[in-house]
Every structure is written in structure tokens, then in C-alpha cells.
Symmetry: C2
Amino acid sequence: MKIIELKESITASNDEDARVLREELKQNHTLLINLMASPGAGKTTFLGKTIKDVGDKIKIGIIEADIDSDVDAKKLAELGVEAVQAHTDGMCHMDAGMTRKALEELNYQNNDLVFLENVGNLICPAEFDTGAGRNVMILSVPEGDDKPLKYPLMFTKSDVLIITKIDTISVFDFDFDKCEQRAKKLNPNIQIFKVSAKTGEGMEEWEKWLSAQVKQWV
Amino acid sequence: MKIIELKESITASNDEDARVLREELKQNHTLLINLMASPGAGKTTFLGKTIKDVGDKIKIGIIEADIDSDVDAKKLAELGVEAVQAHTDGMCHMDAGMTRKALEELNYQNNDLVFLENVGNLICPAEFDTGAGRNVMILSVPEGDDKPLKYPLMFTKSDVLIITKIDTISVFDFDFDKCEQRAKKLNPNIQIFKVSAKTGEGMEEWEKWLSAQVKQWV
């Protein structure tokens, strides 16, 4: 596991950088998935469970983007995947230039699939194209079903919404139907999976989708 | 309840604007508390419970800062307090100029205490002084005890850490001692309260602290 220190790219043309990076990734047969969520939504636990379930069939690499610490990358590296911890120098999101540097540290060409676990933030990461082939967001049950109303851009930009921690539904007021309606009003094409990384419930459907995306990309 | 549309201040001197605003608030005997947290940490529920408990003794005004929607301001206005919904035009935080505009809409001079419920974000709001007299952050049990490691600036800048949703402890792995040690390592003076706005547990201690701050400020 490596730790790298990143600074925001100087270039103003992030969209163009992202487009070029996405094209390169496609030519190298590597699908990059940008995983976004609030702090504490359960991104790392969800990734850990996904790696355990499909890591023997798909060669996975991990970029952990955080302002500080390396606890997440360490956890995932223990599962036997290659993991890079990227420190964002206080930045609240990853851009395409930062993502490129982290991918180079990872030697991404060796992987069919790379997860970029973006900085925990439901706002800023949605504004910056990282070059990923797919954007996936996590919303956890404890956060509440009203989040599409308050953070609309994140739901608009995501191809997939994963509703996590569904095993805790008994102690929270969370209306799945309302949440789905609100998300689909913003983004009619958004795919929705309901999972618990703790109990494994719902993970199979997500992993089927994931495997199909990797095949399609390669 | 009013809704206002805000844009980021043009001035580069946010620190100076914040200092001047804080001084004005002091002269007007109004304590402004900047409440920060992740999306879904329970800021609005916590504020609602606080208003119910002490709203007859302290004259409270509310600024709800959100990228979009007015669900939070509506909820709190129903409790009989004056509430302004501030839309941040996509911005991930409030600065001193935006806060001043919202305070003017609220006619803040009528209140002993104004809560600014900042945009749900554990990163960017910590970087901008709003002019508040006290910074209070919320961390909810479902988010996990490792957050001080990953979002250190927020813990450094906060005078108070409220650990919320303690009624859900049975379904989460959350080590209160570890969390407190990590927070105090970053900020030895941080005051910590453990509460459940749902059951009311721990609210009294927080409200005692709050009442003392208002008296001291006025």
C-alpha cells in the first residue's frame, strides 16, 4: 500500500482532462468507478464486501482519497488488493489530474476494475469529472430519505445509487419508496440497489451489475 | 419563513468580515452558533429538540443553509421560531458575507441566540469563519468513531462536539472513548456531549452549556 500526496491540478480544463483519461482507461481495458458518499456512509465496508465477493473473478485496484489518515487503504490492502492512499492536501474532492496521478501509482493497467473511493462529501465531488467510466453514490439509511431534495447534483451525476446499512432500518425512519421517487425525479435512469454490507443482503444484485459493466468495458 | 438566494462573497477578506460581524453581534447581544456536520447527521432534529426544550427561556432564530430545498426551515418554523432558508447557489459552505445577509433577513437583533445550520459537509465549512461566536459540530454514531482521523480540521475548529443518535448504539460499532481521545488529541479544549434528540438522553447537559454561553455573551 502506497501513500501519495496530491495537489489540485493547475489546469482549468478538467472536463477535457477527464475525457482523455476515460479514453485511455478504455483503451487499457480498465473500468474506473468513482464512488461518492457522505462521511461515514459506509464506502469502505461496502468496498471490502464487494472485494471479498468478486475479488477472485475480477482483478480490482483501489484508490482511497482522503484529506488525512490511511485507515481505509490499510483495511482494503489487507484483503489482498493493490491499494493507493491519496491525500488531497485538504481538498474536498478529486479531479481528473489528481485521479491520473493516483492511477499511475497504482499501475492501473494490471487491473480490470479500479475503485476510486472519493473524499467523503455529498457536494463537491459531484462537480468534478474524475475520468471515471461510471459514477456510483452511496446513501446510508441513517442519513435519511430526504437527501435527494438537499443534494440534487450528486443524484443527477450518479449512474447508480446504493442504499446501504439496510440492516439498521428498524431504528430509523427511512422510506425506500420516497427516496427512490425523489432520486428518479432528478435522474430517471439511475440504477438503485439496496444492500447491507454487514449481512450481505442485496450484494448479489449489485455484484451482477458490476460484473456486467466490467465485461462491457473490456 | 423566508427563502433567500445567496452567492459567495466577492471579497477576499473573509476573516476580517467575520471578525467585524462577530463584533456587531456581540454589541447587539446576539450569540451566533455555527452548527456543522455531515449530511444526515441529525442537525435539524437536534435543533428541533433544543428549541422545544429551551425556546421558552431563550429567544432563538434559525438560519438554514442548504444548496436546495426548504424542508429543514419549514420543520423548525413550525416550532414557532423565526427561520430563514438560505440557498447557497451550489456552494458547499457559508462564509461571513453570506451569513451577514441571512442574519439581516432574520432581523437577528430580536434574538438572544441564532443557530446557523451550515451546509451538510464535514470539510469545507471548517475552512470559512462565518462570524459565529461558537462553532459546534455534530457527529452521529452511524458515521463511526474514526472521523477525527479523516476530517481533522473540523474537530480542530469546533468548540463543541455533539455525538448524536446514541440511541442507535446497539446496531453500530462505535467506541465513545476512542472517539473522544481522537477528538481531544486534535483539540484538547473541545467540549463533548453525547445525546439522543429522539429519546432526550443527554440533552439537558448540552442545554445547560448553551444557556450559560448565551448569558455570558449577552
